[in-house]
């Protein structure tokens, strides 16, 4: 058997093996049908400044996100609620005035304003605003300094570690319940 032929054969088999490994690897990478939620990056039709509303207008978080006290979801306010103030308030800034005009238009025509999701928990997580807000967890603890943001940005990675860090600092008697999987996983 000649040396070259020998070499060719071995190279061949090596190549086949390499391909096998690569394809297997790719297959394994491909199969990631996981549930990581992608944040919907739809353009904001109406820019909303938390800074202006909380600092300048001194509106409390719970005024708009009212069901945070009573329900699992904090909810976004309805246009109705926006119009409580905006039906009468005037602003100097041209930009802002335009936006408010748009808001009024939407309200009058019954259009939907789609706000982008900044935070979202996956399907298998149960999170209750009610339980947290009533037990003295401030909004900022999880959402960051929203009052200083013009547009809300994601400042915390709301993953399991983030939840657990806080849950494990609670009074000892509460910890078993707070770190029980079933408390948050559905």
């Amino acid at each position: 058997m000649s040396e070259t032929r020998d070499r060719r054969l071995l190279l061949w088999s090596g190549a086949v093996l390499t391909i096998v490994v690569i394809i297997t690897g790719l297959a394994l990478v491909q199969i990631e049908p996981e549930d990581e939620t992608k944040i919907n990056q739809t353009a904001v039709t109406l820019p909303f400044s938390h800074e202006v509303h909380t600092q300048k207008a001194e509106i409390d978080c719970l005024f708009c996100h009212s069901s945070a006290l009573r329900a699992p979801q904090a909810t976004l306010p309805s246009l109705n609620k926006c119009m409580i103030c905006h039906s009468s308030i005037t602003v100097e800034d041209d930009n802002a005035r335009q936006n408010i005009e748009q808001l009024k238009q939407a309200y009058e025509n019954g259009w939907r304003v789609q706000w982008p999701d900044v935070y979202r928990q996956p399907d298998f997580v149960y999170f209750s605003h009610r339980a947290h807000v009533n037990n003295g967890v401030s909004c900022q603890k999880c959402h960051g300094d929203v009052q200083n943001m013009t547009l809300v940005e994601k400042v915390v990675d709301m993953d399991m570690g983030f939840c657990l860090d806080c849950h494990q600092e609670q009074p000892e008697a509460d910890i078993p319940r707070l770190i029980d999987c079933a408390t948050c996983h559905k």
Binding site: D35, P72, P122, D123, R130, N134, D180, C181, H185, K186
Partner: protein, 236 residues
């Protein structure tokens, strides 16, 4: 008193169970259990967490059928728990029940093999809910992906809700406030649910019944489901 905050217990009165399957559908509706289709059923891959087993006794014409509803027995000494390599199933120190964390499950199916009650169901395929059937899905319960083990949870989402409500109202959970879907539907009231830690609860009273027994008691699994023996009246 047990070491748990609540010791959720289910009583199944076999004398009242008629085998009507109302509980089965109630469970399926509450817990987003998929329908798997004829061929899969034929293979024995039904997903219903709760099934009613029917045994025959005697020979024609002196024949009797016996029904026994079977779901996860929420064993105190659960054989499924230690074998899971990733803690996807564990014993809740709060509720005293056996919890399955779906998203932690990697699908070794070891737990299912080790369950003497064959109470665990496996998602052989991704579940199908053709539109708009998915509108009905219970938002409190996740939809399980293929490769995940699942089982009766004693409707833990209802327990969770009740606890949250009770906490918000500054009281403890009342007897009868939590009812799993099966017990709620059962037309004959054969399924009773409650907290064994509460000595005045209905389950505490029934648990002391002389007809009471636990399934495969000899295995020492100490189930939280207590069956009451069916009637033995000798007519004719």
């Amino acid at each position: 008193m047990s070491k748990y905050e609540h010791h959720w217990t289910m009583i199944v009165d076999l004398d009242k169970c008629t085998g009507c399957q109302a509980c089965v559908i109630a469970c399926q509706a509450e817990n987003n259990i998929p329908v798997v289709g004829e061929d899969e059923i034929r293979k024995g891959r039904g997903m219903q967490w709760l099934r009613i087993e029917r045994y025959w006794e005697g020979e024609y014409p002196n024949i009797r059928a016996r029904f026994i509803p079977l779901m996860c027995q929420q064993c105190e000494n659960a054989p499924c728990e230690p074998v899971c390599p990733v803690f996807a199933t564990y014993h809740s120190e709060v509720d005293g029940i056996n919890v399955q964390v779906y998203n932690r499950c990697i699908g070794t199916r070891y737990c299912a093999n080790n369950c003497p009650y064959i109470a665990r169901m496996f998602n052989w395929f991704d579940p199908q809910f053709p539109e708009p059937l998915n509108e009905q899905l219970n938002p409190d319960v996740t939809v399980r992906q293929r490769g995940i083990m699942e089982k009766c949870t004693f409707c833990i989402q209802r327990i969770r809700r009740a606890r949250e409500t009770a906490e918000a109202e500054g009281r403890s959970i009342r007897d009868g406030e939590v009812q799993p879907a099966c017990g709620q539907a059962c037309p004959t009231n054969a399924i009773i649910f409650g907290d064994l830690n509460d000595p005045n609860s209905q389950v505490s009273r029934l648990a002391a019944n002389r007809r009471g027994f636990r399934l495969l008691e000899e295995l020492g699994t100490e189930p939280a489901v207590i069956y009451l023996k069916g009637g033995e009246s000798n007519v004719i």
